[in-house]
Amino acid sequence: MDILVPIKLVPDLVEELEIAANGVALDRRFMRLIPSEQDDHALEEALLLKERHGGSVTVITLDTGDTDDTLYTAIAKGADRAIKVTGESFDEGVTNHAASSVLQAAAKDLTFDLILTGAQATDDLDGSTGPLLAARLGLPFVGYVLAVSQEDGGIVVRKEYPGGLVAEMTVDLPAVLGISAAEKPPRYVVTAKVMEAMKTATIEEVAAGDADAQGAAELARMYLPESGERAEMIEGGVDQVADALVALFGKRGLLG
Protein backbone atom coordinates (compact mmCIF):
# COMPACT_ATOMS: atom_id res chain seq x y z
CA MET A 1 0.00 0.00 0.00
CA ASP A 2 1.36 3.42 -0.96
CA ILE A 3 0.57 5.99 1.69
CA LEU A 4 0.79 9.75 1.65
CA VAL A 5 1.11 11.56 4.98
CA PRO A 6 0.59 15.33 4.99
CA ILE A 7 2.12 16.87 8.11
CA LYS A 8 1.08 20.26 9.42
CA LEU A 9 3.27 22.44 11.60
CA VAL A 10 1.46 24.02 14.54
CA PRO A 11 2.45 26.40 17.34
CA ASP A 12 4.21 24.74 20.24
CA LEU A 13 1.67 25.36 23.00
CA VAL A 14 4.29 25.07 25.69
CA GLU A 15 5.69 28.39 24.50
CA GLU A 16 4.10 31.76 25.16
CA LEU A 17 1.74 32.69 22.34
CA GLU A 18 1.32 36.27 21.19
CA ILE A 19 -1.10 37.99 18.90
CA ALA A 20 0.21 39.74 15.78
CA ALA A 21 -0.04 43.52 15.40
CA ASN A 22 -2.99 43.17 13.02
CA GLY A 23 -4.96 41.62 15.87
CA VAL A 24 -6.38 38.75 13.83
CA ALA A 25 -3.54 36.21 13.77
CA LEU A 26 -0.87 34.70 15.94
CA ASP A 27 2.45 36.51 15.95
CA ARG A 28 4.56 34.07 14.00
CA ARG A 29 7.87 35.94 14.22
CA PHE A 30 9.21 34.13 17.25
CA MET A 31 6.78 31.28 17.32
CA ARG A 32 8.19 27.80 17.69
CA LEU A 33 6.50 25.39 15.33
CA ILE A 34 6.24 21.66 15.88
CA PRO A 35 4.64 18.88 13.85
CA SER A 36 1.01 18.42 14.83
CA GLU A 37 0.78 15.62 17.37
CA GLN A 38 -1.96 13.72 15.57
CA ASP A 39 -0.01 13.98 12.30
CA ASP A 40 2.80 12.23 14.12
CA HIS A 41 0.31 9.47 14.98
CA ALA A 42 -0.76 9.37 11.32
CA LEU A 43 2.87 8.86 10.29
CA GLU A 44 3.23 6.08 12.85
CA GLU A 45 0.11 4.31 11.58
CA ALA A 46 1.45 4.63 8.01
CA LEU A 47 4.79 3.11 9.02
CA LEU A 48 3.01 0.25 10.83
CA LEU A 49 0.94 -0.47 7.70
CA LYS A 50 4.08 -0.43 5.55
CA GLU A 51 5.77 -2.89 7.91
CA ARG A 52 2.76 -5.20 7.75
CA HIS A 53 1.83 -5.03 4.09
CA GLY A 54 4.75 -3.45 2.25
CA GLY A 55 4.42 -0.40 0.03
CA SER A 56 5.76 3.05 0.63
CA VAL A 57 5.30 6.10 2.84
CA THR A 58 5.66 9.62 1.47
CA VAL A 59 5.54 12.58 3.84
CA ILE A 60 4.56 15.98 2.56
CA THR A 61 4.58 19.39 4.23
CA LEU A 62 3.82 22.94 3.27
CA ASP A 63 6.88 25.10 3.72
CA THR A 64 5.40 27.10 6.60
CA GLY A 65 8.60 27.29 8.60
CA ASP A 66 11.33 24.91 9.62
CA THR A 67 9.87 21.83 8.05
CA ASP A 68 13.18 20.16 7.12
CA ASP A 69 13.71 18.68 10.58
CA THR A 70 10.24 17.21 10.50
CA LEU A 71 10.81 15.69 7.05
CA TYR A 72 14.25 14.26 7.87
CA THR A 73 12.88 12.84 11.11
CA ALA A 74 10.15 11.09 9.12
CA ILE A 75 12.78 9.63 6.77
CA ALA A 76 14.82 8.46 9.77
CA LYS A 77 11.70 6.75 11.12
CA GLY A 78 11.20 4.85 7.87
CA ALA A 79 9.44 7.10 5.36
CA ASP A 80 10.61 6.64 1.77
CA ARG A 81 10.10 10.08 0.30
CA ALA A 82 9.86 13.59 1.69
CA ILE A 83 8.24 16.43 -0.24
CA LYS A 84 8.15 20.08 0.64
CA VAL A 85 5.64 22.31 -1.10
CA THR A 86 7.06 25.81 -1.32
CA GLY A 87 5.14 29.03 -1.67
CA GLU A 88 5.82 32.61 -0.65
CA SER A 89 2.50 33.10 1.07
CA PHE A 90 3.02 30.36 3.64
CA ASP A 91 5.05 32.49 6.05
CA GLU A 92 1.91 34.22 7.25
CA GLY A 93 0.31 30.92 8.10
CA VAL A 94 -2.22 29.20 5.92
CA THR A 95 -5.84 28.17 6.44
CA ASN A 96 -6.85 24.54 6.11
CA HIS A 97 -8.98 25.34 3.07
CA ALA A 98 -5.90 26.83 1.36
CA ALA A 99 -3.56 24.07 2.57
CA SER A 100 -5.89 21.38 1.29
CA SER A 101 -6.08 23.01 -2.16
CA VAL A 102 -2.28 23.15 -2.33
CA LEU A 103 -2.07 19.50 -1.24
CA GLN A 104 -4.70 18.53 -3.79
CA ALA A 105 -2.54 19.96 -6.57
CA ALA A 106 0.58 18.25 -5.22
CA ALA A 107 -1.22 14.91 -4.87
CA LYS A 108 -2.05 14.88 -8.59
CA ASP A 109 1.53 13.90 -9.42
CA LEU A 110 1.72 11.20 -6.76
CA THR A 111 0.36 7.68 -6.66
CA PHE A 112 -1.22 6.54 -3.43
CA ASP A 113 -3.84 4.19 -2.04
CA LEU A 114 -4.28 6.01 1.22
CA ILE A 115 -3.73 9.44 2.69
CA LEU A 116 -3.29 9.44 6.46
CA THR A 117 -3.29 12.67 8.41
CA GLY A 118 -4.20 13.82 11.90
CA ALA A 119 -7.93 13.95 12.66
CA GLN A 120 -7.35 17.52 13.80
CA ALA A 121 -4.64 20.00 14.71
CA THR A 122 -4.60 22.36 17.68
CA ASP A 123 -4.79 25.51 15.54
CA ASP A 124 -7.63 24.45 13.21
CA LEU A 125 -10.25 27.15 12.69
CA ASP A 126 -11.80 26.14 9.38
CA GLY A 127 -12.34 22.39 9.49
CA SER A 128 -9.43 19.98 9.24
CA THR A 129 -7.00 19.26 6.45
CA GLY A 130 -7.94 15.58 6.02
CA PRO A 131 -11.65 15.83 5.19
CA LEU A 132 -11.10 19.03 3.16
CA LEU A 133 -8.46 17.29 1.06
CA ALA A 134 -10.65 14.19 0.69
CA ALA A 135 -13.55 16.29 -0.60
CA ARG A 136 -11.32 18.15 -3.05
CA LEU A 137 -9.94 14.85 -4.37
CA GLY A 138 -13.40 13.25 -4.46
CA LEU A 139 -12.29 10.50 -2.05
CA PRO A 140 -14.05 9.01 0.98
CA PHE A 141 -12.99 10.18 4.44
CA VAL A 142 -13.27 8.77 7.94
CA GLY A 143 -11.83 10.60 10.93
CA TYR A 144 -11.15 9.83 14.61
CA VAL A 145 -9.49 6.62 13.47
CA LEU A 146 -7.55 4.46 15.94
CA ALA A 147 -6.51 1.56 13.74
CA VAL A 148 -6.43 0.51 10.09
CA SER A 149 -6.36 -3.03 8.73
CA GLN A 150 -6.35 -4.43 5.23
CA GLU A 151 -9.21 -6.71 4.29
CA ASP A 152 -10.58 -8.08 0.99
CA GLY A 153 -8.96 -5.49 -1.22
CA GLY A 154 -10.24 -2.68 0.95
CA ILE A 155 -9.60 -1.50 4.47
CA VAL A 156 -11.40 -1.64 7.79
CA VAL A 157 -10.93 1.24 10.20
CA ARG A 158 -11.74 1.62 13.86
CA LYS A 159 -13.42 4.93 14.59
CA GLU A 160 -13.84 6.27 18.09
CA TYR A 161 -16.97 7.72 19.65
CA PRO A 162 -17.58 9.31 23.07
CA GLY A 163 -17.41 6.99 26.04
CA GLY A 164 -14.99 4.54 24.48
CA LEU A 165 -17.38 3.00 21.94
CA VAL A 166 -15.64 2.08 18.68
CA ALA A 167 -17.23 1.58 15.26
CA GLU A 168 -15.70 -0.59 12.58
CA MET A 169 -16.18 0.76 9.09
CA THR A 170 -15.16 -0.52 5.68
CA VAL A 171 -13.69 2.12 3.41
CA ASP A 172 -13.14 1.89 -0.36
CA LEU A 173 -9.66 2.78 -1.58
CA PRO A 174 -8.23 5.21 -2.35
CA ALA A 175 -9.30 7.09 0.76
CA VAL A 176 -8.26 9.74 3.26
CA LEU A 177 -8.27 8.96 6.98
CA GLY A 178 -7.97 11.25 9.98
CA ILE A 179 -5.97 9.48 12.68
CA SER A 180 -6.56 10.47 16.29
CA ALA A 181 -4.16 7.90 17.74
CA ALA A 182 -1.98 5.25 16.10
CA GLU A 183 -2.12 1.62 17.27
CA LYS A 184 1.23 2.20 18.99
CA PRO A 185 2.76 5.37 20.40
CA PRO A 186 4.77 7.20 17.73
CA ARG A 187 8.26 5.74 17.54
CA TYR A 188 11.23 7.62 18.85
CA VAL A 189 14.23 8.10 16.64
CA VAL A 190 17.73 8.96 17.85
CA THR A 191 19.36 12.18 16.66
CA ALA A 192 22.17 10.25 14.96
CA LYS A 193 19.65 8.66 12.61
CA VAL A 194 18.11 12.02 11.79
CA MET A 195 21.61 13.40 11.09
CA GLU A 196 22.25 10.45 8.82
CA ALA A 197 19.00 11.11 6.97
CA MET A 198 20.09 14.72 6.50
CA LYS A 199 23.26 13.49 4.77
CA THR A 200 21.77 10.77 2.63
CA ALA A 201 18.16 11.71 1.89
CA THR A 202 16.91 14.46 -0.37
CA ILE A 203 13.89 16.59 0.28
CA GLU A 204 12.03 17.05 -2.97
CA GLU A 205 10.72 20.56 -3.49
CA VAL A 206 7.56 21.30 -5.40
CA ALA A 207 6.25 24.79 -6.09
CA ALA A 208 2.71 25.35 -4.90
CA GLY A 209 0.08 26.48 -7.34
CA ASP A 210 -2.45 29.12 -6.37
CA ALA A 211 -4.08 28.29 -3.07
CA ASP A 212 -7.85 28.47 -2.88
CA ALA A 213 -8.43 30.00 0.53
CA GLN A 214 -12.16 30.46 0.07
CA GLY A 215 -14.07 28.74 2.85
CA ALA A 216 -12.33 30.09 5.94
CA ALA A 217 -14.22 32.69 7.92
CA GLU A 218 -12.69 36.12 8.25
CA LEU A 219 -11.64 36.92 11.80
CA ALA A 220 -12.41 40.23 13.47
CA ARG A 221 -10.19 39.60 16.44
CA MET A 222 -7.86 37.00 17.89
CA TYR A 223 -6.98 37.30 21.56
CA LEU A 224 -5.78 35.52 24.65
CA PRO A 225 -8.68 34.81 27.02
CA GLU A 226 -8.81 37.25 29.90
CA SER A 227 -8.28 35.50 33.13
CA GLY A 228 -11.50 36.23 34.91
CA GLU A 229 -12.20 33.84 37.74
CA ARG A 230 -8.91 32.04 37.90
CA ALA A 231 -8.21 29.26 40.35
CA GLU A 232 -7.39 30.28 43.90
CA MET A 233 -3.66 29.63 44.03
CA ILE A 234 -2.21 27.69 46.93
CA GLU A 235 1.22 29.17 47.53
CA GLY A 236 4.31 27.89 49.27
CA GLY A 237 6.81 25.09 49.01
CA VAL A 238 5.89 21.46 48.49
CA ASP A 239 5.39 20.83 52.23
CA GLN A 240 3.16 23.84 52.79
CA VAL A 241 1.13 23.04 49.68
CA ALA A 242 0.68 19.42 50.79
CA ASP A 243 -0.51 20.59 54.22
CA ALA A 244 -2.92 23.08 52.66
CA LEU A 245 -4.32 20.42 50.34
CA VAL A 246 -4.80 17.92 53.17
CA ALA A 247 -6.62 20.63 55.14
CA LEU A 248 -8.80 21.34 52.10
CA PHE A 249 -9.59 17.65 51.55
CA GLY A 250 -10.43 17.31 55.25
CA LYS A 251 -12.75 20.31 55.19
CA ARG A 252 -14.58 18.85 52.19
CA GLY A 253 -14.98 15.51 53.97
CA LEU A 254 -12.77 13.66 51.55
CA LEU A 255 -10.52 12.00 54.08
CA GLY A 256 -13.29 10.17 55.91
Binding site: N96, H97, T122, A167, G215, M222, L224, A231, I234
Partner: protein, 323 residues
Protein backbone atom coordinates in the same frame (compact mmCIF):
# COMPACT_ATOMS: atom_id res chain seq x y z
CA UNK B 1 -31.85 35.51 2.35
CA UNK B 2 -32.88 32.83 4.78
CA UNK B 3 -32.75 33.53 8.50
CA UNK B 4 -33.24 29.93 9.47
CA UNK B 5 -30.81 27.89 11.50
CA UNK B 6 -30.32 24.14 11.24
CA UNK B 7 -28.88 21.81 13.81
CA UNK B 8 -27.68 18.41 12.59
CA UNK B 9 -28.70 15.94 15.31
CA UNK B 10 -26.07 13.43 16.43
CA UNK B 11 -27.33 10.08 17.61
CA UNK B 12 -25.61 6.83 18.39
CA UNK B 13 -27.44 3.50 18.61
CA UNK B 14 -30.83 5.02 19.25
CA UNK B 15 -29.79 7.79 21.61
CA UNK B 16 -29.34 11.46 20.96
CA UNK B 17 -25.86 12.56 22.02
CA UNK B 18 -25.41 15.30 24.59
CA UNK B 19 -23.70 17.68 22.16
CA UNK B 20 -26.94 17.88 20.18
CA UNK B 21 -28.52 19.77 23.09
CA UNK B 22 -25.58 22.17 23.21
CA UNK B 23 -26.12 22.76 19.51
CA UNK B 24 -29.86 23.25 19.98
CA UNK B 25 -29.17 25.80 22.73
CA UNK B 26 -26.78 27.70 20.46
CA UNK B 27 -29.12 27.32 17.50
CA UNK B 28 -32.05 28.69 19.53
CA UNK B 29 -30.04 31.78 20.52
CA UNK B 30 -28.91 32.34 16.97
CA UNK B 31 -32.31 31.76 15.34
CA UNK B 32 -34.04 34.09 17.83
CA UNK B 33 -31.41 36.77 17.18
CA UNK B 34 -31.84 36.44 13.42
CA UNK B 35 -35.61 36.26 13.62
CA UNK B 36 -35.60 32.88 11.89
CA UNK B 37 -36.74 29.35 12.61
CA UNK B 38 -34.71 26.60 14.23
CA UNK B 39 -34.87 23.24 12.49
CA UNK B 40 -33.38 20.02 13.84
CA UNK B 41 -32.19 17.77 11.03
CA UNK B 42 -32.49 14.16 12.09
CA UNK B 43 -31.09 11.34 9.95
CA UNK B 44 -31.87 7.73 10.73
CA UNK B 45 -33.90 4.64 10.08
CA UNK B 46 -37.05 4.09 12.13
CA UNK B 47 -35.71 6.82 14.40
CA UNK B 48 -38.63 9.22 14.24
CA UNK B 49 -39.18 8.71 17.98
CA UNK B 50 -36.04 10.70 18.70
CA UNK B 51 -37.77 13.83 17.36
CA UNK B 52 -39.69 14.02 20.64
CA UNK B 53 -36.48 14.94 22.47
CA UNK B 54 -35.79 17.92 20.21
CA UNK B 55 -38.49 20.24 21.57
CA UNK B 56 -36.34 23.35 21.54
CA UNK B 57 -36.48 23.32 17.75
CA UNK B 58 -39.44 24.85 15.88
CA UNK B 59 -39.55 21.78 13.71
CA UNK B 60 -37.75 18.56 12.90
CA UNK B 61 -36.82 17.41 9.42
CA UNK B 62 -36.52 13.66 9.57
CA UNK B 63 -34.80 11.76 6.76
CA UNK B 64 -35.53 8.05 6.93
CA UNK B 65 -33.42 5.52 5.04
CA UNK B 66 -31.79 2.19 5.94
CA UNK B 67 -28.38 3.61 4.91
CA UNK B 68 -28.81 6.32 7.54
CA UNK B 69 -29.52 3.92 10.41
CA UNK B 70 -26.01 4.49 11.79
CA UNK B 71 -23.64 7.34 11.15
CA UNK B 72 -21.29 6.82 8.23
CA UNK B 73 -19.48 9.79 6.69
CA UNK B 74 -20.39 9.17 3.05
CA UNK B 75 -24.16 8.71 3.41
CA UNK B 76 -24.54 11.50 5.95
CA UNK B 77 -22.48 14.01 3.99
CA UNK B 78 -24.35 13.32 0.74
CA UNK B 79 -27.71 13.73 2.45
CA UNK B 80 -26.87 16.86 4.42
CA UNK B 81 -25.15 18.54 1.47
CA UNK B 82 -28.15 17.97 -0.78
CA UNK B 83 -30.68 19.21 1.80
CA UNK B 84 -28.64 22.30 2.69
CA UNK B 85 -28.17 23.14 -0.98
CA UNK B 86 -31.91 22.95 -1.57
CA UNK B 87 -33.12 24.93 1.46
CA UNK B 88 -30.11 27.25 1.87
CA UNK B 89 -30.44 28.03 5.59
CA UNK B 90 -28.48 30.92 7.12
CA UNK B 91 -26.39 28.63 9.32
CA UNK B 92 -25.95 24.89 9.80
CA UNK B 93 -24.63 23.73 13.18
CA UNK B 94 -22.80 20.45 13.52
CA UNK B 95 -20.83 18.90 16.37
CA UNK B 96 -17.10 19.52 16.65
CA UNK B 97 -17.02 15.81 17.17
CA UNK B 98 -16.28 12.41 15.70
CA UNK B 99 -19.42 12.69 13.56
CA UNK B 100 -19.69 16.41 12.81
CA UNK B 101 -16.06 16.85 11.89
CA UNK B 102 -16.22 13.93 9.46
CA UNK B 103 -18.82 15.67 7.33
CA UNK B 104 -18.58 19.45 7.93
CA UNK B 105 -15.39 19.96 5.89
CA UNK B 106 -16.74 17.92 2.99
CA UNK B 107 -20.01 19.87 2.95
CA UNK B 108 -18.00 23.09 2.95
CA UNK B 109 -16.24 21.95 -0.23
CA UNK B 110 -19.41 20.46 -1.78
CA UNK B 111 -21.34 23.70 -1.44
CA UNK B 112 -18.57 26.30 -1.33
CA UNK B 113 -19.76 27.43 2.09
CA UNK B 114 -17.45 28.92 4.72
CA UNK B 115 -16.84 26.73 7.76
CA UNK B 116 -16.23 28.02 11.27
CA UNK B 117 -14.88 25.25 13.45
CA UNK B 118 -14.36 24.82 17.22
CA UNK B 119 -16.99 27.49 17.83
CA UNK B 120 -17.92 27.95 21.48
CA UNK B 121 -20.50 30.74 21.41
CA UNK B 122 -22.70 31.95 18.64
CA UNK B 123 -25.14 34.84 18.34
CA UNK B 124 -26.65 37.02 15.65
CA UNK B 125 -25.23 40.20 17.18
CA UNK B 126 -21.75 39.10 18.21
CA UNK B 127 -21.05 36.40 15.63
CA UNK B 128 -18.84 33.47 16.60
CA UNK B 129 -16.14 32.88 19.17
CA UNK B 130 -13.92 29.87 18.48
CA UNK B 131 -11.42 28.23 20.78
CA UNK B 132 -8.02 27.40 19.38
CA UNK B 133 -4.50 26.44 20.45
CA UNK B 134 -5.69 24.13 23.21
CA UNK B 135 -7.88 26.81 24.77
CA UNK B 136 -5.07 29.37 24.97
CA UNK B 137 -6.39 31.59 22.19
CA UNK B 138 -9.85 32.78 21.15
CA UNK B 139 -10.82 33.86 17.66
CA UNK B 140 -13.96 35.81 16.87
CA UNK B 141 -15.69 37.15 13.83
CA UNK B 142 -19.00 37.91 12.18
CA UNK B 143 -21.10 35.06 10.94
CA UNK B 144 -19.94 34.67 7.30
CA UNK B 145 -22.48 35.93 4.72
CA UNK B 146 -24.76 34.81 3.25
CA UNK B 147 -24.64 31.32 4.73
CA UNK B 148 -22.17 29.23 6.70
CA UNK B 149 -21.41 25.99 8.46
CA UNK B 150 -20.34 25.83 12.10
CA UNK B 151 -18.91 23.01 14.22
CA UNK B 152 -19.66 23.60 17.87
CA UNK B 153 -17.66 22.69 20.98
CA UNK B 154 -19.26 22.48 24.43
CA UNK B 155 -18.50 24.96 27.17
CA UNK B 156 -20.28 28.03 25.80
CA UNK B 157 -23.96 27.21 25.43
CA UNK B 158 -25.59 25.04 28.08
CA UNK B 159 -27.12 21.71 27.06
CA UNK B 160 -29.99 22.21 29.54
CA UNK B 161 -31.08 25.23 27.44
CA UNK B 162 -31.38 22.84 24.51
CA UNK B 163 -33.93 20.60 26.24
CA UNK B 164 -37.65 21.24 26.39
CA UNK B 165 -40.64 19.02 26.94
CA UNK B 166 -42.44 19.62 23.72
CA UNK B 167 -43.11 17.63 20.60
CA UNK B 168 -42.06 19.71 17.61
CA UNK B 169 -43.77 19.13 14.25
CA UNK B 170 -41.94 16.54 12.17
CA UNK B 171 -41.55 16.76 8.42
CA UNK B 172 -40.61 13.36 7.06
CA UNK B 173 -38.58 13.50 3.86
CA UNK B 174 -36.89 11.07 1.51
CA UNK B 175 -33.14 11.32 0.96
CA UNK B 176 -32.77 13.82 -1.89
CA UNK B 177 -29.87 11.87 -3.40
CA UNK B 178 -29.29 8.16 -4.07
CA UNK B 179 -27.62 6.39 -1.16
CA UNK B 180 -26.23 3.43 -3.01
CA UNK B 181 -22.62 2.73 -3.94
CA UNK B 182 -21.51 4.12 -0.57
CA UNK B 183 -17.76 4.26 -0.03
CA UNK B 184 -17.87 4.05 3.76
CA UNK B 185 -20.03 1.42 5.47
CA UNK B 186 -20.58 0.37 9.05
CA UNK B 187 -19.34 -3.12 9.86
CA UNK B 188 -20.21 -3.18 13.54
CA UNK B 189 -19.47 -1.78 16.96
CA UNK B 190 -16.88 -2.77 19.53
CA UNK B 191 -18.03 -2.24 23.09
CA UNK B 192 -15.76 -0.38 25.50
CA UNK B 193 -13.62 -2.64 27.65
CA UNK B 194 -15.64 -3.84 30.58
CA UNK B 195 -14.34 -4.72 34.01
CA UNK B 196 -11.62 -2.99 35.96
CA UNK B 197 -12.13 0.42 37.44
CA UNK B 198 -15.09 2.53 36.38
CA UNK B 199 -13.85 6.12 36.70
CA UNK B 200 -17.39 7.48 36.32
CA UNK B 201 -18.28 5.91 39.68
CA UNK B 202 -15.26 7.08 41.69
CA UNK B 203 -15.69 9.98 44.09
CA UNK B 204 -12.01 10.90 44.03
CA UNK B 205 -9.96 10.95 40.85
CA UNK B 206 -6.23 11.55 40.66
CA UNK B 207 -5.88 12.44 37.02
CA UNK B 208 -2.56 12.57 35.22
CA UNK B 209 -1.46 14.27 32.02
CA UNK B 210 1.57 14.91 29.90
CA UNK B 211 3.28 16.67 32.84
CA UNK B 212 4.07 13.40 34.57
CA UNK B 213 6.73 12.82 31.93
CA UNK B 214 7.34 9.10 32.14
CA UNK B 215 5.36 5.92 32.57
CA UNK B 216 7.33 5.08 35.73
CA UNK B 217 5.88 8.15 37.41
CA UNK B 218 2.39 6.68 37.17
CA UNK B 219 3.06 4.72 40.34
CA UNK B 220 3.33 8.00 42.26
CA UNK B 221 -0.21 8.78 41.15
CA UNK B 222 -1.38 5.24 41.96
CA UNK B 223 0.01 5.60 45.48
CA UNK B 224 -1.66 8.97 45.97
CA UNK B 225 -4.98 7.62 44.66
CA UNK B 226 -4.72 4.62 46.96
CA UNK B 227 -4.06 6.88 49.96
CA UNK B 228 -7.06 9.05 49.08
CA UNK B 229 -9.29 6.05 48.37
CA UNK B 230 -9.75 7.06 44.74
CA UNK B 231 -8.62 5.96 41.32
CA UNK B 232 -6.25 7.17 38.63
CA UNK B 233 -7.65 8.65 35.44
CA UNK B 234 -5.84 10.41 32.63
CA UNK B 235 -5.89 12.88 29.77
CA UNK B 236 -5.32 11.94 26.17
CA UNK B 237 -1.51 11.85 25.85
CA UNK B 238 -1.24 9.24 28.61
CA UNK B 239 -3.71 6.92 26.92
CA UNK B 240 -2.15 7.50 23.49
CA UNK B 241 1.18 6.42 24.94
CA UNK B 242 -0.47 3.21 26.08
CA UNK B 243 0.38 3.90 29.73
CA UNK B 244 -3.25 3.55 30.79
CA UNK B 245 -6.20 1.89 29.02
CA UNK B 246 -8.87 3.95 27.22
CA UNK B 247 -11.28 3.13 30.06
CA UNK B 248 -9.34 5.65 32.18
CA UNK B 249 -9.57 8.48 29.65
CA UNK B 250 -11.41 11.62 30.73
CA UNK B 251 -12.62 13.96 28.00
CA UNK B 252 -14.29 14.24 24.65
CA UNK B 253 -13.29 10.81 23.37
CA UNK B 254 -13.37 9.22 26.80
CA UNK B 255 -15.59 9.37 29.84
CA UNK B 256 -17.44 12.25 31.46
CA UNK B 257 -16.82 12.16 35.20
CA UNK B 258 -18.40 13.92 38.19
CA UNK B 259 -16.20 13.10 41.18
CA UNK B 260 -16.25 15.04 44.45
CA UNK B 261 -12.54 15.74 43.94
CA UNK B 262 -10.70 15.93 40.64
CA UNK B 263 -7.00 16.34 41.28
CA UNK B 264 -5.41 17.18 37.93
CA UNK B 265 -1.67 16.60 37.82
CA UNK B 266 0.27 17.95 34.87
CA UNK B 267 -2.88 18.38 32.77
CA UNK B 268 -3.04 21.62 30.76
CA UNK B 269 -6.80 21.30 30.40
CA UNK B 270 -7.50 21.69 26.69
CA UNK B 271 -11.20 22.07 25.80
CA UNK B 272 -11.38 18.37 24.86
CA UNK B 273 -10.41 17.48 28.41
CA UNK B 274 -12.61 20.07 30.10
CA UNK B 275 -15.57 18.54 28.29
CA UNK B 276 -15.21 15.37 30.35
CA UNK B 277 -14.72 16.83 33.84
CA UNK B 278 -16.49 20.18 33.96
CA UNK B 279 -19.10 18.72 36.35
CA UNK B 280 -16.57 17.73 39.03
CA UNK B 281 -17.48 19.17 42.44
CA UNK B 282 -13.98 20.38 43.19
CA UNK B 283 -11.11 20.67 40.74
CA UNK B 284 -7.57 21.11 42.02
CA UNK B 285 -4.94 21.65 39.33
CA UNK B 286 -1.22 21.14 39.80
CA UNK B 287 0.79 22.52 36.92
CA UNK B 288 4.07 24.28 36.18
CA UNK B 289 2.55 26.41 33.41
CA UNK B 290 0.81 29.44 34.90
CA UNK B 291 -0.98 29.96 31.57
CA UNK B 292 -2.46 26.44 31.54
CA UNK B 293 -6.16 26.74 30.60
CA UNK B 294 -7.10 24.39 33.46
CA UNK B 295 -6.39 27.21 35.92
CA UNK B 296 -9.28 29.11 34.34
CA UNK B 297 -11.79 26.60 35.60
CA UNK B 298 -10.16 24.81 38.55
CA UNK B 299 -11.22 26.06 42.00
CA UNK B 300 -7.71 25.64 43.37
CA UNK B 301 -4.36 25.81 41.64
CA UNK B 302 -0.84 24.89 42.61
CA UNK B 303 2.21 26.05 40.63
CA UNK B 304 4.40 23.09 41.31
CA UNK B 305 5.97 20.06 39.70
CA UNK B 306 3.44 17.29 40.26
CA UNK B 307 6.23 14.74 40.58
CA UNK B 308 7.63 16.54 43.59
CA UNK B 309 4.27 17.13 45.19
CA UNK B 310 2.80 13.64 44.83
CA UNK B 311 5.01 11.68 47.26
CA UNK B 312 4.81 14.40 49.92
CA UNK B 313 1.05 14.69 49.55
CA UNK B 314 0.66 10.90 49.71
CA UNK B 315 2.56 10.82 53.00
CA UNK B 316 0.50 13.70 54.46
CA UNK B 317 -2.79 12.12 53.42
CA UNK B 318 -1.78 8.82 55.04
CA UNK B 319 -0.76 10.71 58.17
CA UNK B 320 -4.05 12.61 58.30
CA UNK B 321 -5.99 9.39 57.93
CA UNK B 322 -3.97 7.96 60.79
CA UNK B 323 -2.27 5.34 58.65
Amino acid sequence: MSKDVWVVVESLRGEVLENTYTMLAAGRTLADGLGGKLTALLLGSKAEGLAGTLGVADGVTYVDHPALADFTPDAYRRTISALVKEAAPRAVLMGHSSMGMDVASGISIDLGLPLVSACQTLSAAAGFVSVTCGGKVLAEGKLPEPACLVTLVPGGHKPQDGRKDAAPPVARVQPPVPLDDLKTKLKGYIEPEAGGIDITKESILVSVGRGIGQQDNLKLAEELAAALGGAVSASRPIVDQGWLPTSRLVGKSGKSVKPRLYLALGISGAPEHHEGMSDAECIVAVNTDEKAPILDYAQYGVMEDALKLMPVLTARVKQAKGG
